[in-house]
Amino acid sequence: MTGDPVTEMFDVSRQPSGEVARLDAVIADVGDETGLDRLREVYERHARDLFRLGFALTGDRDLAEDLVHDAFVRLHRAPTEPSAEAMRAYLRRIVVNLVRDHHRRQVVAGRSRPEGEDAPSAEAVADAADRSAAVDAAIAALSHRQRICIVLHYFEGLTDAEIADAIGISVGSVKTHLHRARATLARRLEGLR
């Protein structure tokens, strides 16, 4: 990058006749400097796992890809990068936070139920077409935090301490959420056994 692109754009004396081409060159410089090659390397290493985590958390492939993109946009804009060892946990936490924010926006917009309220009844769960759909419905009916704990535990295989680190709560809270979530799921799925 040769300088501030906006400043250069207004510097008429330095603008060649092909102004559009000049501006495109400035934009290309911006792109080069931001390290797309490095981003691609990290993306290829982590994006698939993050996508799967996002899918497990939301059940929505399109949303999961958006979450992955959002996470990498944040990483890309961060002034410093976590170490290679911390990268996976860092990106995972961003995705979890983004899912949380998505949930919050839906609640604020009235498109989703607040945590612990309005959960589908056992009858509704039992009406699900098959066992897998019933499990889906039962997990979806958990509180947001319980659902994240369940996914991070059973899908990601994280320990309680790792879950606590990922979502920013205490280990004790994780244990409590997991215990209550298991109990709720078992109760709601009991009739289908």
């Binding site: 692109p5 906006v6 207004f10 008429v12 559009v20 501006l23 400035v26 934009i27 792109g31 797309l36 981003l39 993306y43 290829e44 994006a47 698939r48 996508f51 799967r52 899918f55 497990a56 492939r61 890809e65 992955v68 993109h69 946009v73 944040r74 990483l75 890309h76 961060a78 002034p79 410093t80 976590p82 860092y90 936490r93 961003i94 936070n97 924010d101 919050r104 926006r105 609640v107 604020v108 917009a109 945590e115 889906d136 997990i139 369940i150 996914v151 059973y154 899908f155 606590a164 680190d165 920013g168 709560i169 205490s170 280990v171 004790g172 809270s173 298991r182 109990a183 799921l185 078992a186």
Partner: protein, 406 residues
């Protein structure tokens, strides 16, 4: 719980384990990254138009500077249509009017004419506009950790008195009765600003924040990793927030009625001590100062998960929550280029003010004024009337201010 049930839950996610990213995913990410450049592309204008725009821009800046005596920095307050929009959805900008001047003093402010003042000012009398007369500030000009606790004139930034010199001082807060609480070498010290007498020392405590009525002191216990409040009269402590799972709190702030404690939550990849790592995990969470246990007890569903990319919470008098956002790393410090106002009732963002490299905020006792500490090569203090957007430099403030309160 049976292991069969655990196995079933693990197997339930096999569908997700087999899922794969759609083709072209990285290219779509690159398109997203290009989006901020779109405004540049849109400004492909002829040379003359560009030149005219530049002239208008320069003339406008000069006019504003002349109108403000060259010392103030007009700030635009942007309305935000969609509070959840990641782009901010800025639609309009309005320059706020200046506050009118008045000689009214604000309850709870400290005074500049107390005995023991070591430096007398010869500055001409400055018209007051309702702000407290003085500011308590921590100054670390060399950034080496050895700093001073000083009292500044709130209009000019001139150092009126030095209360503590050449010690490890990190944070400061001023109680409604004028008592100064400062963090020194990971303890909190209560200081009488008039006599300079140390009234009490609270070991293992950091980030002191006195409640609006002065009866409680919130702080971070760096040994236990908890946020607690101390009843100053009875010396009884109550945990507000238990183990934060590797996170540490930064700045604390009480709401005007004392019913909410806002906590700057610093992620595990970035702690104040380490000073490295991306700042994107910083957020502000709102907690109940009287929780039923020591777990996080969020105030409202709208803020149940905090405000991401936010730091330095304060509660101005208008009942809103003000935070610094658009964060980036500046040396050891995390600074922001925007202040966002949030409505506590609806959980929606009310608006934003453009600032520059701002970190710590503190509201005056009446909530009408907010100090913002600016970091950088020449750190200084700026102020804004809490309900408006004008920032005013304190031209005579010393370099290296890392915290300020009033």
């Amino acid at each position: 719980m049976t292991s069969d049930f655990d196995d079933e839950l693990r197997a339930h996610f096999d569908v997700a384990r087999d899922a794969d990213l759609p083709a072209g995913s990285f290219d779509r990410l690159v398109d997203r990254l290009d989006a901020p450049l779109a405004p540049l592309r849109a400004r492909r204008m002829p040379k003359l138009l560009a030149l005219a725009a530049a002239i208008v821009l320069i003339a406008g800046v000069a006019a504003v500077a002349a109108a403000q005596g060259g010392g103030d920095h007009p700030q635009s307050v942007h309305s935000v249509d969609d509070p959840t929009s990641t782009t901010g959805a800025t639609t309009t900008s309005t320059t706020r009017p200046h506050h009118t001047t008045t000689t009214e003093r604000v309850p709870g402010s400290t005074t500049t004419t107390t005995p023991g003042t070591t430096t007398s000012t010869t500055e001409p009398t400055v018209e007051r506009d309702g702000r407290p007369d003085t500011i308590a500030a921590v100054v670390d000009p060399d950034g080496d950790g050895a700093g001073s606790l000083v009292v500044l004139d709130s209009s000019t930034g001139k150092v009126l008195r030095t209360l503590v010199a050449d010690q490890v001082v990190d944070d400061v807060d001023v109680a409604p009765d004028g008592t100064i609480y400062y963090e020194s070498d990971r303890s909190v010290v209560a200081l009488d600003p008039d006599s300079g007498e140390q009234l009490a020392t609270y070991p293992h405590m950091r980030s002191p924040e006195v409640s609006p009525h002065g009866s409680q002191l919130a702080s971070f216990d760096h040994v236990l990793g908890t946020v607690s409040r101390l009843e100053l009269a009875s010396r009884q402590r109550k945990n507000i927030l238990g183990d934060m799972g590797g996170n540490v709190p930064g700045q604390l702030a009480w709401s005007r009625d004392g019913g909410i404690l806002a906590i700057e939550d610093v992620g595990p990849f970035e702690s104040p001590d380490q000073g490295d790592g991306p700042p994107s995990l910083r957020r502000v969470i709102l907690t109940d100062p009287n929780p039923y246990d020591d777990q996080i007890d969020m105030i409202d569903e709208s803020f149940a998960h905090g405000i991401d990319d936010a730091a330095s919470p304060v509660f101005p008098a208008d009942g809103s929550l003000l935070v610094v956002s658009d964060l980036s790393q500046d040396g050891r410090h995390v600074v922001g280029d925007r202040m966002d106002a949030w409505d506590l009732a609806s959980g929606q963002k009310l608006g934003e003010v453009s600032v520059s490299d701002v970190s710590g905020l503190d509201a005056s006792a009446d909530g009408q004024w907010v100090i913002a500490t600016r970091e950088g090569k020449r750190p200084h203090v700026v102020m804004t009337p809490a309900a408006a957007g004008d920032l005013q430099d304190l031209s005579r403030a010393p370099e290296g201010i890392i915290a300020a309160a009033w």
